[in-house]
């Protein structure tokens, strides 16, 4: 479904991303892990055609994302707070996204019902604008916003960061249940190896812009990954 061919992104003389080939089939829950600067957000931004590739291309269902806007009907994303509209209430934000995706208010309301537990009573009817919500609650709004209209491809950048422990668990449940639907493909990036291995059935590790591991998740995956990152650390602190 998603096909990445020879993609690279170069800033000045610095190559921040270079992936030769990567296929993400439909229905996969795809996890992207790596340290800061590994190129996770760059890859997502290329997928969403927010930045221009230095070479290569990404295509969704055979159509290059930088040539046609067809993909916009299939993909939704929450990358960072530039995907939130601060002066709206959460409801207005959801309705806005819903209307852009061809949903009316009633169906958005109906859709939001399932998230009452996830929202913990702090988001709907809270009489607050999105800009005045806490970071964690903003994140919840952004994530649920990306789910509205049940898009085929859902891209979430660092969805677990800033969330409280209970919400992290709820989010993992949510992703697991949603990913049982074979029409939905998740792309999730995270620093947290445990969360990623728990929800994703495939994990790709990026390091300094390069693909270094591509594994189908198994019970040993977490230990593997931890060992991998431990090896990368050079001892430098002394007592």
């Amino acid at each position: 479904m998603i096909s990445i061919q020879n993609i690279s992104k170069v800033y000045g003389t610095k190559k921040v991303l270079g992936i030769e080939h990567l296929e993400i089939p439909k229905g996969e829950t795809f996890g992207l892990v790596g340290n800061n600067g590994a190129g996770k957000t760059t890859l997502f931004s290329l997928l969403l055609d927010l930045i221009q590739a230095s070479s290569g291309f990404i295509s969704i269902d055979g159509i290059k994302v930088n040539e046609s806007e067809q993909w916009k009907t299939k993909v939704s994303a929450f990358i960072d707070d530039s995907f939130l509209i601060g002066y709206l209430t959460p409801e207005e934000y959801f309705y806005f996204l819903g209307e852009l995706r061809g949903q009316n208010r009633a169906s958005v309301d109906e859709f939001l019902k399932q998230f009452s537990d996830f929202f913990n009573g702090e988001i709907l009817n809270a009489k607050k604008y999105v800009r005045d919500l806490s970071k964690g609650n903003q994140k919840k709004v952004g994530i649920v916003g990306a789910l509205i209209g049940t898009p085929e491809i859902i891209v979430l950048d660092e969805p677990f960061a800033n969330l409280d422990p209970s919400t992290q668990i709820k989010l993992k449940q949510l992703i697991k249940i949603w990913s049982q639907n074979s029409n939905i493909t998740f792309l999730i990036s995270s620093h947290d190896l445990a969360h990623t291995t728990e929800v994703c059935n495939r994990i790709v590790v990026l390091n300094k812009g390069e693909l270094v591991r591509d594994i189908q998740t198994s019970p040993e995956t977490l230990r593997d990954l931890e060992n991998y990152f431990a090896e990368q650390v050079v001892p430098e602190f002394e007592n």
Partner: protein, 490 residues
């Protein structure tokens, strides 16, 4: 200790993003500052010579008579614009400074606010004129000046105590406005009392101490008030507006365009930057008053004024599409947004803004029917032609807008004036000015109005072409726009 804090203050002043932009912006802001200071310094001369030479009244008496209205005006303006002095104090709370010092420093800081020393730009030349030209007693004028100065300090502290009490300020404004009306119809003349009270600062030695004492009392109350509220969840927290989900139902009939219009109305209501743009567009309505000055006694310049009278909102809002959506531009770029509908939404708002201005501009009909016809013609041109060209100019404008700050919206952050935007001023301003003046010269006022109307209709017919063109620009400029918006966010 205070010196160290003060040094930080100076840094914060010079590193303000308003100054930071670039050299051209710096020169512009300095120029603006000098210009306004110049205006302030000019005013006392105007007042003094107008009173003394033209209407042969005691300038001091004239000043005192209407000062009560200025007092109310000053209070209201302060309330809405002057920043609370507590806003930058948060980082110091956990340092080794005692609370007392911090509160005192906070209060001390207000003495350096432009709202306080700015008045001296008026008062000092005024006092000088009274003493050296009018032969008033120097001691009396000095007492008077001190008295008035402390009235401004009184306002300064009153403003702090009133923080968040909208109703009180609106009431003060309402009462004074009512008195102003009564004054106009000579029913109750507040100015009589005003004259007696303020003039006594000069004439009765010692009375000037009254505002001094009042200001000091309020200062103490402020000290207590700030001291007690010196917590993050009390006085130091910016008040958050209560969020209310709103929707103008009938707009839903217009599909996605309606959704966008609904959103923009919320933007105008809830974002500081958008609100001040709205306020500025009201101020443009007054631009027509310039017609009564010397440079505007020809058809060219009258139409020029007309374009700004009816186009205030268009320029303040339309020129900055899509920058209004800069803070969530990546979201817009990943949604299945039909760009034509997006533009139509903005266009509908601009049309509404111009139409309202044309109606409000009727006020000028009282002055001269011909002037109103000129404004009306300019309005037609704005509706039919400029509304599109403004959106086109906006497409080249890549300065993001910080929706939560009001300062930037007054051009402080700077629009990037590039050649393309400058070139677009030709069809925006010069073409209608030339057509109108030419037609009027040869055929008279009504054909001149009609000619701009016809141009408007032509523009309206070409609208889809222009929208398509703007959409094309949006698409080709997409990556660089995204990058430009991102830079300032980080």
């Amino acid at each position: 200790m205070y010196a160290k804090l003060l040094r930080l203050e100076i840094k914060s002043f010079f590193r303000d993003p308003r100054f930071g932009a670039n050299l051209a912006m710096k020169i512009l802001s300095v120029f603006g500052l000098v210009y306004f200071s110049g205006l302030f310094i000019m005013l006392p001369f105007l007042l003094y010579f107008y009173a003394a030479k033209k209407i042969h009244t005691d300038p001091l008496l004239l000043f005192s008579r209407y000062f009560v209205y200025y007092w109310a005006f000053d209070l209201v303006v302060r309330y809405f614009i002057q920043q609370m002095p507590t806003q930058n104090i948060k980082p110091f709370l956990t340092t080794g400074l005692t609370k007392k010092i911090l509160v005192k420093y906070t209060i001390l800081k207000t003495f350096f606010s432009f709202f306080n020393w700015g008045n001296l730009l008026f008062m000092l030349p005024f006092a000088g004129l009274l003493i050296f030209d009018g032969g008033y007693s120097a001691a009396g004028v000095l007492m008077f000046t001190i008295g008035i100065l402390f009235i401004f300090y009184f306002n300064n502290f009153l403003n702090i105590l009133l923080n968040g009490k909208d109703s009180v300020v609106v009431a003060v404004f309402g009462i004074i406005a009512v008195f102003g009306g009564l004054e106009y119809f000579k029913i109750i003349q507040l100015s009589r009392f005003s004259e007696k009270i303020f003039y006594s600062f000069y004439s009765v030695p010692g009375t000037f101490l009254l505002p001094v004492v009042l200001a000091l009392v309020l200062m103490y109350l402020c000290y207590r008030f700030i001291f007690e509220n010196f917590y993050l969840d009390k006085g130091l927290e910016l008040k958050k507006a209560e969020g209310k989900t709103e929707n103008i139902e009938f707009l839903n009939r217009y599909g996605v365009t309606g959704t966008f219009i609904n959103n923009d109305i919320r933007l105008l209501k809830r974002s500081k930057a958008a609100r001040s743009a709205l306020f500025a567009s009201f101020m443009f309505l007054l631009y027509g008053l310039l017609v009564f000055t010397n440079g505007y006694q020809n058809d060219f310049m009258q139409l020029f004024a007309g374009i700004f009278v009816t186009g205030g909102f268009m320029f303040m809002f339309g020129q900055r599409v899509p920058s209004w959506d800069s803070s969530y531009y990546p979201l817009m770029m990943t949604q299945n947004v039909p760009y034509k509908d997006y533009l139509k939404g903005k266009w509908a708002l601009i049309v509404l803004g111009v139409s309202v201005s044309i109606v409000l501009g009727l006020g000028y009909a009282f002055a001269s029917w011909e002037l109103y016809l000129t404004i009306f013609a300019a309005g037609l041109y704005n509706l039919g032609v400029n509304s599109y060209i403004t959106l086109l100019a906006g497409a080249f404008n890549k300065k993001p807008i910080d929706l939560n700050s009001s300062s930037k919206s007054f051009g402080g952050g700077g629009n990037n004036f590039n050649m393309k935007i400058m070139l677009l001023l030709i069809p925006q301003l010069l073409v209608p000015m030339a057509v109108f003046a030419g037609m009027k010269y040869f055929f008279g006022i009504y054909p001149a109005v009609a000619s701009l109307g016809i141009l408007g209709i032509i523009g309206f017919l070409l609208r889809d072409k222009i929208f398509d063109f703007v959409v094309k620009i949006y698409k080709t400029e997409k990556y660089s726009t995204l990058e430009a918006y991102k830079k300032s966010a980080g």
